[in-house]
């Protein structure tokens, strides 16, 4: 498995997709923040800024997987990773030499490792540059900001980002293996993510007209469960959404975790099962 992972890393480290879709986050955020600091556009910290506000500003990267556009970007990288082998016709090069489980496992592992490094790096850079901006603008560091509080807040934000990252990877990888096309995989992943977000964001409104469809979908799709789990991690309480008729959706974190685990197992397991049975012509 380590050998397959090493081969995968060697292959992808110079690929454009890795630069545009993985390293883009730390590079883009560094450039934007440096320009803001140098031009004075970032400005001094607002008066009365709390430690929680300051830390939240530094953890912006962890919110990327929680919105649709962030997940599109993750899906795009996964589509290239998995479906690229069909486009380049290179499964024929590597499949005879290693178990298919190991090849797919290496792709999953590398995706998670790359995004973890990218997000941790981005978070570190953001924190450093936020501190630099305070120094440049002579703003005082809010009381309570320290290594322990930073680490605690970033760990929780990272944990909340885990499920949407894994779901995004699952949509794109399954679509890649079934469609054998990078573009098709990306389109399918975008559609799946958008439908999920649509149902989550507009569930109460849509259920006025389509209650019989929207209500079960709202509970079954990952959207509410991702947000609910994030709410439990950050606030220690369930996310409450009110539906017409006074129905309030409030779900225990264990239920949301179980639903998300089932989704991830189904998407990742489906990818593996489909690839293991697939004829490579």
């Amino acid at each position: 498995m380590l050998e397959a992972l090493s081969a995968e890393a060697l292959k992808m480290r110079t690929h454009k997709a890795t630069w545009f879709l993985v390293w883009m986050f730390p590079i883009a955020l560094t450039i934007i923040m440096l320009i803001a600091i140098v031009s004075g556009g970032a400005g001094a910290a607002p008066p009365g800024q709390t430690a929680a506000d300051w830390i939240e500003n530094t953890s912006i990267i962890w919110f990327v997987p929680n919105n649709a556009v962030g997940r599109y970007l993750i899906s795009a990288f996964v589509a290239v990773m998995f479906a690229g082998e069909y486009g380049w016709n290179t499964w024929k090069l590597i499949v005879p030499h290693r178990r298919r489980t190991s090849l797919i496992g290496a792709k999953y592992a590398l995706t998670i490792i790359l995004f973890s490094i990218s997000f941790v790096l981005t978070a570190a850079i953001t924190t450093g540059l936020t501190f630099l901006n305070d120094v440049v603008t002579d703003s005082p560091l809010p009381a309570g900001v320290g290594a322990a509080t930073l680490l605690d807040a970033h760990s929780k934000a990272a944990l909340a980002a885990l499920a949407p990252v894994l779901i995004a990877i699952g949509y794109a990888s399954l679509a890649a293996v079934l469609s054998r096309s990078t573009i098709a995989a990306l389109v399918i992943a975008i559609v799946a993510t958008s439908v999920e977000q649509l149902i989550f964001n507009f569930g109460p409104q849509l259920s006025v007209h389509f209650a019989s469809v929207v209500w079960p979908l709202y509970h079954a799709l990952p959207g509410h469960h991702i947000a609910n789990l994030a709410e439990w991690i950050r606030e220690g309480a369930a996310l409450k959404r009110e539906f017409p008729g006074g129905h309030v959706v409030s779900i225990a974190w264990t239920t949301s975790a179980a639903v998300l685990i089932a989704w991830i197992a189904a998407l990742w397991g489906g990818t593996l099962a489909a690839f293991k049975r697939q004829d490579i012509n």
Binding site: A7, L10, D279
Partner: protein, 308 residues
């Protein structure tokens, strides 16, 4: 070439059907063959005959619908690790276009769990040492083919499977490939299983061949036997109809212009002459007619390809 009868590769009733059982298309049907250690085995067939599907089943890219592929005595499905002893070139070499030739081989070596120590030697052997740093997307078809051969030999395999190895090569490249295939078997004791549509090349390097048509093996033998079976006698006799009638009751006879091609061996020439004389035909010329592999191949597969 020294051939050890111990089979390195055995196919037993190997079949592949695409689509649903009722209306499925049978791409390969009950293919059985056996290749011994140190043998160079040719796998011939017209386009769409099932060669590539069979080769893909041999290297685990396609799952057979029925039958068994055994490599080094092991069932491929039960023990796919046996493919570590196999090197293959399919589709003229498939590589990551954004990586250099050398980096592609490094990726393959890591995938195989091997070191990169043989890469320089192989790049040199296939004549790509100077282009090893260039990205593969800039390679010509022939260069990709040669890189494919290097990839096939990377793990120092005991069995080398080459699907159309001379496609895209120039005359000198074909000569080099022929020498390489020979040396793999003769000098290094490797077993080579190759498909090619260049029958002249196959005739020169292979010990035995199988001919596949419409998914079925229609002939398997040594090259010598295959050509011998199709030996014949070219006869010019008059009246041609009388001569043909006299011989057709005993041997297969074909007309070729004014001449008759009689599928009879050299030893049967006196009997041919006696029959012609007995029938009152005048014999003007009798010469041995030996077909080359291409003619034999066409005679076996042409009627079927015509149907297709």
């Amino acid at each position: 070439m020294t051939v050890n009868p111990r089979p390195v590769l055995e196919l037993v009733n190997l079949s592949k059907t695409y689509g649903r059982r009722g209306g499925g298309v049978r791409a390969v049907r009950d293919v059985s063959l056996s290749v011994g250690s140190g043998e160079v085995y040719g796998f011939l067939g017209p386009n769409g005959a099932g060669k590539s599907t069979t080769i893909r089943m041999l290297i685990g890219l396609i799952a057979p619908s029925a039958g068994e592929a055994r490599l080094f005595g092991e069932d491929l499905r039960a023990k796919p690790e046996v493919l570590r002893r196999v090197g293959s070139l399919v589709d003229g070499g498939n590589f990551y276009p954004f990586l250099s030739g050398r980096r592609n081989l490094e990726v393959l070596a890591k995938t195989q769990g091997r070191g990169a120590d043989r890469i320089e030697e192989l790049l040199d052997q296939v004549g790509l040492a100077r282009d090893a740093k260039r990205k593969v997307k800039g390679y010509s078809t022939g260069m990709r083919q040669r890189l494919g051969v290097a990839a096939a030999l990377l793990g120092d395999p005991d069995l080398v499977i080459l699907d159309e190895p001379v496609n895209g090569l120039d005359v000198a490249g074909i000569q080099e490939m022929r020498d390489l295939i020979r040396s793999l078997a003769v000098d290094r004791g490797k077993t080579v299983f190759l498909s090619s549509h260049l029958l002249h090349e196959v005739q020169q390097v292979c010990d035995r061949v199988a001919i596949i048509s419409k998914g079925e093996i229609v002939r398997e033998s040594t090259i010598a036997d295959l050509l011998r079976q199709d030996d014949g006698l070219r006869i010019e006799a008059s009246p041609t109809d009388v001569a043909e009638a006299a011989l057709a009751s005993r041997w297969p006879v074909e007309r070729e212009g004014d001449a008759l091609i009689v599928r009879a061996g050299r030893a049967e020439a006196p009997e041919v002459v006696r029959r012609l004389v007995g029938a009152g035909a005048d014999l003007f010329r009798l010469t041995p007619e030996q077909r080359n592999l291409e003619e034999v191949f066409l005679s076996i597969t042409q009627p079927e390809t015509d149907d297709a």
